[in-house]
Symmetry: C2
Subunit: 250 residues, 2 copies
């Protein structure tokens, strides 16, 4: 250990400054398609590129608090609407060269939101928009945000398997069909309606009946569906596993 390292082990200021940002992979479902909140950067580096919403963590803020604040700024959301958004930590990204300006460690978060109003650009962005995830392959994202988004999407797909968080994409009351649409959209697979229905009702605490029904049947006919709200389970047991994906296993 050289002298600089020795000093630094006692005083981090002996090292060049590190900045910590909270970035958010915010997902919602619009028009039966998974959408991701992106901003268009106004300033270099990567000016004009699309990027994840985020910003520096403030001195008095917890990491998740910072993520929620950044999300609020870009969605123009507050109060009850924001409270219904699920935010959890995803992972931290800190490769030395990930930002050309200086050492920046990004604590990425993952958010599940019910269908929200259009986004509104914050201070450091020209534009903020919900972008269909299906259109992402064509867009170049700033920094290592592509990787972060990929990790977030995989985490989201996995979370639907063993937690009841799919309900966070929906209004407080929903039908089993709407819940199934969430799974189909996030997983990108059609699911068997009958089997899904029975499965959801058989998992303890996943959903609870409100006793009410929808006012109308589907737009193209069908009976009025029963309404449910999220139950008290935090984990699904047994889980709803994705259709086999032998390929991804090795």
């Amino acid at each position: 250990m050289n002298e600089q390292d020795f000093l630094a082990s006692y005083d981090p200021r002996a090292y060049p400054a590190v900045a910590v940002t909270a970035d958010v992979v915010a997902l919602t479902i619009r028009d039966n398609a998974l959408h991701l909140l992106l901003i268009r950067r106004a300033e270099p580096p990567y000016a004009g590129h699309w990027a994840l919403p985020g910003g520096f963590v403030r001195p008095d803020e917890d990491l998740t608090t910072a993520a929620r604040r950044e999300l609020a700024e870009e969605t123009g959301l507050g109060g009850d609407r924001l409270r219904r958004v699920h935010v959890e930590q995803l992972a931290s990204y800190g490769a030395p060269e990930r930002d050309p300006r200086m050492r920046i460690v990004s604590v990425a978060h993952l958010a599940f939101a019910p269908d929200l109003p259009d986004a509104t650009a914050g201070t450091d962005a020209d534009e903020a928009d919900w972008v269909p995830v299906a259109e992402l392959p064509g867009r170049e994202l700033a920094f290592d945000h592509r990787r972060i988004v990929d990790d977030g999407l995989e985490r989201a797909r996995s979370k639907l398997e063993y937690t009841p968080l799919a309900t966070r994409f929906l209004a407080p009351e929903f039908t089993i069909g709407e819940l199934r649409a969430v799974y189909e959209t996030v997983w990108g697979h059609p699911l068997h309606a009958g089997n899904f229905h029975r499965k959801v009702l058989s998992v303890p605490g996943f959903v609870e009946s409100t006793g009410a029904n929808t006012e109308r049947g589907g737009s193209r006919g069908g009976p009025r569906a029963r309404l449910y709200r999220a139950g008290d389970a935090r984990l699904l047991h047994p889980a709803l596993l994705r259709p086999a994906r032998e390929e991804t296993v090795r």
Copy 2:
């Protein structure tokens, strides 16, 4: 947004400095008990308290690289032995008051190690030791390290379910009985030997036979067991689920 925040959104140096550390929840199995690597702090704050090994991330280091370095310093390990240790990111902890000196964001990592030699204290510790996890409730840990350890243990238990990482607690060649002992130790439950045996062999890519047998049977008798090494699966499918834990679900 006030002026300070506005400036800070462009220049993080307008905020008080943040330091980033890499801490490690390193687990190993000794004498059929799960052990955690802890150091005894030499300097305030929390001088004399037990804490997780860790330290400041250096300018040229990736986060996981820093965690591996810290682990190497406290275990005196290098080369091949270190390479067989599994290290993954756990989560980041950044509550504003978690360190009384200054704002410190800790990127915690989780490590699975085969039985290693005794630990050797690094520069900022009086002592480093593998401590039985069962003895933790009696010890007060520094900072929010208790919470980090709890999160790490839960992650470890969960990882054994759907990944083949249990093999990382063992030598390159092992018996099914030794593998079962890992599961029993980490999960804290006895498992049925026969069912476990059949299950492990039925999961594609979990283990592969070496063709060889152990030299001797068990110390108290029994046949010589077949030897296996880790297979090429990165995920177990189907998973080995923990015995039902209805309690933890709500």
